[in-house]
């Protein structure tokens, strides 16, 4: 079976000479179909850069990334992934519904169908009452939910999510986590998820990748062997706390390293 995402010795250097920044160095990563992989690490360790390489928004300086056995470029043309950015990035002249349906519009799907799908997606993120609102009429957290609905609207086989829940309050965040897990189970999507929250990474993932900065490297890979499906009792599980401690120690080891 081909990996959904495979990075083979991928490096990314920004700039050159004395200003060169090694955002990624010799990254090897294999993500199997249906996995939920979280990337965690200090700010500037190259998490977003890794997502952008996989999403064909930038080309790596070295190494071979593959997505569904294809080049990231081909995978992008095949619309294999939906992206959720750190900022919601809604188009402010479009209503919420039109924003959610934007990918479908670009794919040439006709209006009644994309409106129907868009409304279903808005229900999913509990914004069904806001279809004809404009982005500026929504709070930051609501805008981010719209952007998640937009990424899901065309049912991509891979979700690349860059701190999607960073702007949400704790309650909404937990609800969105449950929704995301439900969607992930139902649609058999593969998720690559960037977060700064250890608990979130452990709760959601099947695997947690810990990265260190300058140069951006993978320093630890932790399998999360919590029972599926995850739910409210997961957070009370003894193993949950053990894994959190495990990830925290991996992160602390990075900080203790001499810079």
């Amino acid at each position: 079976m081909t990996s959904t995402i495979s990075l083979d010795n991928v490096s990314m250097v920004f700039g050159s000479g004395i200003d060169a920044v090694k955002a990624l160095e010799s990254i090897d990563l294999d993500v199997q179909p249906g996995e939920f992989v979280s990337l965690i690490g200090p700010s500037g360790c190259g998490k977003s850069t890794m997502l952008r390489v996989i999403g064909d928004l930038i080309s790596p300086s070295a190494g071979t990334p593959q997505v569904n056995g294809k080049s990231p470029h081909q995978a992008r043309l095949d619309r294999d992934y939906g992206m959720v950015f750190q900022s919601a990035t809604l188009l402010d002249w479009r209503t919420v519904l039109e924003n959610v349906a934007l990918p479908l519009e670009i794919m040439g799907i006709d209006r009644p169908e994309r409106d129907a799908v868009g409304r279903k997606m808005l229900e999913l993120v509990q914004l069904d009452g806001f279809a004809s609102h404009y982005p500026w009429q929504l709070s930051g957290g609501m805008q981010q939910r719209v952007s998640i609905a937009r990424a899901l609207s065309f049912q991509p086989s891979i979700l690349l999510m860059d701190e999607p829940f960073g702007a949400l309050d704790e309650m909404t965040r937990e609800r969105m986590q449950m929704e995301l897990l439900r969607i992930w189970e139902e649609t058999e999507t593969t998720v690559l998820f960037v977060t700064h929250s250890i608990a979130e990474a452990v709760f959601l993932s099947t695997r947690v990748i810990v990265m260190s900065p300058r140069p951006g490297r993978i320093v630890d890979r932790i399998d999360v062997d919590l029972p599926q499906p995850r739910g409210f009792d997961t957070r009370e599980h003894q193993r949950f706390f053990e894994l959190i401690t495990r990830v925290r120690e991996a992160l602390r080891a990075i900080e203790d390293e001499p810079a």
Binding site: G55, D56, L57, R76, L77, D78, R79, Y81, G82, M83, F85, S87, A88, T89, L90, L91, D92, W93, L102, P103, E105, I106, M107, Y134, P135, W136, L138, Q143, F154
Partner: protein, 292 residues
Amino acid sequence: MNHRTRSILSFLGIVASLAVVWEAYKWMGQTTGGTWPSTSVRLPVRTNNRSMPHLWDIAQSLFQPARRGGEDILLVILLRAGWFTFRSAVGGFVVGSAFGFGLGILFVRSSVAERGLMPYVVASQTVPVIALAPILVIWGGKLGLPQAVQVAVIAAYLAFFPVAINTLRGLRSPAATATELLRSYAASPSQQLWKLQVPAALPYLFPALKIAATASIIGAIVGELPAGLSRGLGRAILGFASSFSSAPEKLFASVAVSALVGILFVGLVALVERSVVPATRRVTVDAERPLA
């Protein structure tokens, strides 16, 4: 009081204060004998009835026959001339704006075109229209273009520039993440253009269209002279300028009507803007507009 009545009232207020300043300055000059009060420093503009007619004399002249024994009052003559000029200006505005918009799209698509052509686009605006108009008229005449079309071409020549510059700026305004978003959906270049760049450019486009509207009026007025058109404002202004010493208020009246035509044109553009660009997006062009 709603926004609209407030803006109308403030406009009328400004007009009224300008009128008061005009008459007060004139009165001061008449009282002091043409100097600043208690000095011997001369006023920059003379205040006699020739240099600065009373506003009521200007207004009155509008309702008197333009020529001794003529049938039509000055206002009718000027409005007719204004309408004539306005039509060529609109023609030039439409053609020039469309050309400027197309140029903006060309430049955003091809940096080679931008680097190669932009210097000429900028240089074109440093040639005074007074010098250029006769040349365009001669060429237009050779090509057999009607005079009104020649005038429209001159108006278009002035109108296209602000539109091209601001279109380019607006097309470049989307945040990098928005461009990446469309890229991640494998949007084609033309989808990028029409679904992201053009909508994002609209708030930048309309201020340019307002400038283009006034520029096209100026272009039409100036263009009428070498084109030999006698029915527009250009000829009227020139005629009243030559009889300035005997009837200065007619020149001022024709200037006022020209300004009125320009204001109405800009108002028309603003009306369209109102229905195309929602108020929340009508931000000042100089402010960076963060994406939601």
